[in-house]
Symmetry: D2
Subunit: 240 residues, 4 copies
């Protein structure tokens, strides 16, 4: 059983009718309903909950954290960001969606600005699978189309991903590295581009399949925790 926590800042849905029309119970609820399967135990957390719903206890019982944020990035407390960061390095999986590219936690893990080009123009996005060996691409066609999405364009200022799985084509002439994996410490991270709040992206079957695959991929592997610091020799030194 993989314990998943879906974190959503849950602000647009309360403010903009255009958003709540699409996600009446919030983006987190739509994703939770969409990815649910027998091997996943799914909970949610939001910005305005105490400790943003991310207490030590809540994180300790989370195997994979999904992160959606946008207008509220600056409202996330640094201490909570630090706590999530530490948990990722200790093995918790992290899936960062769409505008989460600018979240404090993603920027802290990447070490770069995570900046990019963007445009809202009811634009077609076509997502191509460039690593068909990867488990996150399981059951995903070689390409699929989202009829209307926000455009994100290169240069996307991230470290070269460990694995590049998906690349997007946009109607207006841009490309984007849309599905990227990273290992950091004992934790696995997947960034996945689609999901603007005003489009029904999180009801798309392929998008949901990819997120579900990513959850299983990102679950902790259970390697031994490395020891750090002053280390006794395992072999004799200077006695030969």
């Amino acid at each position: 059983m993989i314990r998943v926590t879906i974190w959503n800042e849950f602000l647009h849905e309360k403010i903009h009718k255009a958003v709540s029309d699409v996600y009446p119970d919030g983006i987190h609820a739509a994703i939770a309903a969409g990815i649910g399967e027998a091997d996943l135990e799914i909970g949610t957390a939001t910005l305005e909950q105490q400790e943003h719903g991310l207490s030590e206890e809540a994180l300790n019982r989370t195997d994979v954290l999904i992160w959606w944020g946008h207008m509220g990035h600056e409202k996330v407390e640094d201490a909570i960001v630090h706590r999530v960061h530490q948990r990722v390095l200790d093995g918790m999986g992290l899936i960062v969606l769409h505008s989460g590219h600018f979240s404090k936690i993603f920027k802290a893990l990447m070490g770069t600005t995570c900046d990019l080009k963007w445009r809202e123009a009811d634009e077609k996005e076509r997502i191509w699978t460039v690593d068909p060996a990867h488990p996150i691409a399981a059951g995903v066609p070689e390409h699929f189309t989202l009829e209307r999405e926000e455009m994100y364009g290169e240069h996307f200022d991230i470290p070269a991903p460990d694995e590049l799985i998906f690349v997007s084509w946009f109607e207006g002439g841009e490309v984007f590295r849309s599905g990227c994996t990273f290992h950091r410490g004992q934790g696995k991270i997947f960034y996945f581009r689609p999901g603007h709040e005003s489009y029904p992206t999180y009801y798309d079957g392929n998008v949901l399949k990819i997120i579900r695959n990513a959850v299983r991929w990102a679950a902790p592997s259970g390697a031994a925790k490395p020891m750090r610091g002053n280390h006794q020799p395992l072999e004799p030194i200077g006695k030969r």
Copy 2:
């Protein structure tokens, strides 16, 4: 259920008593006994069987192929190598062990000489986990020791691995990239260094755990098979 075929050239065991003392039923039998668990359906194949035990039919019902070869590399027919190569590109996992670095199939997949330094001196090897986030390291300590092994030393002439999981230390002063992953086509490949025929390496719990983890990691992911060749436009061209 993952269908595993363990291929062993099975020559040393018939010729050298020192080897058959260690592996009386062959290296393949020792690995089969050692990695067996409920989710694995394990078979074996050897060089001197018809088509080296690797008929089209046998390969088609194999999800992950484990390869051990050494003195018989040149006896493996090119047509069979080509067949295995194609199956890997189509998604079959491949785990290449120890002296398999010089097998025709590994060299064909790597595109390099796969050459290295070596020495037989009853030497201690210590294997360090350098990617503790990786599923192949699940349950593996941060380091473990094989009291006597053949030394393999850098430079190991392979492409930079997609992921480097284990690095070996040798008593005589060398290091080696001992656990390396590669994606090729829809297939996943893991090279794992230990396993000289005259040492009881394939009875070591950590070695067996790593091979078992690798089998699960290398099992086909089931992404859509890419279409190739002449492709019709998905969007209108030059009509704007």
Copy 3:
């Protein structure tokens, strides 16, 4: 001084007026004229020359080999391919252009089919720089457009490149990893997509700049040649 040999199969130009209209002296001559600068000593070689112009002596005085081939891949003798392969592993740089993706030498170095999608439709290609730190991108804008090119689309069946520098957008709806680096042995390889024989791509300033940058990047680095084979211990074994 970097010694460059530009290899072109030089067949289309002799057969198709549409091609010789664009490249009257051959693609190799256009590239040679276009990339010429004071630090480059440039020669050419073609398929129908003796040993395809790639004698041992010719290769030994080549630091970087540029390869353009298409309809004549099968006419390149295996022994010459083997010779070029060996020289790359020994440090010669190799730049593979466009339809060279299907050349024997590129397939042998990659270990994959190198297959892809394609279409000839007088189509717009836009090339995006996704690694602006890379020397091959020096002086290149963040994107530039080729008004008419042949389309190449994903999935491109290559190993994950060591570095991905350029990604192409195509008018008809596809994307492509267009600028990819690989290290193999002591040699450096750059694959660069543009350059269909019927379009004036090799007169484009950005295309020429990228090829020139790649030549400088791919020139041999001069690291020590690794020793192979049986290796004496550098430290005492088993005497502790």
Copy 4:
């Protein structure tokens, strides 16, 4: 001409006679003297200078910054760290030496703890070249030995490096990824392990050669600065 600034916290040398005996004018001075060649314009900066010697102006005229720090990491002001970080993302090269693994700037760029094992035991280190195609390995033997160094051991908690060039063997039984490259934004980063303050490591010819090679490799490439933010379509949208 590449403008190099060598930054050294310059504390141990003032406090510990054992260190000033080895580096009477400071580690920075030894490196400056050791790597000097005609194409390098070398300056130095230290912690106790105003703005740690790293004013906007000083950084703007620096192409490659070399960083050595240890006991004074916490004394480096966050605003200066932020300034250096920004300059790296804008293209300045950064070479982080030895105990600089724990500097604020390296940790901020990596996004991980950068923790490791260590031991001071007058121990032998042997450095192996695992990527002999890399320009940082130019003229470097396939292995070389430092008779006495501090040990650093895996697991080294960094992102998987873009390129792994050197791996160290230690007498006491550990290994370490000692030469690692990273691209971040438009900047190139090289981490190089050797250089404990109490050993004469920065007089070693191979160590100096590697640092000099790294300076040339890390110098800004001069790609176009990517545009960020709201982006106008390059192609018509939704009008087809």
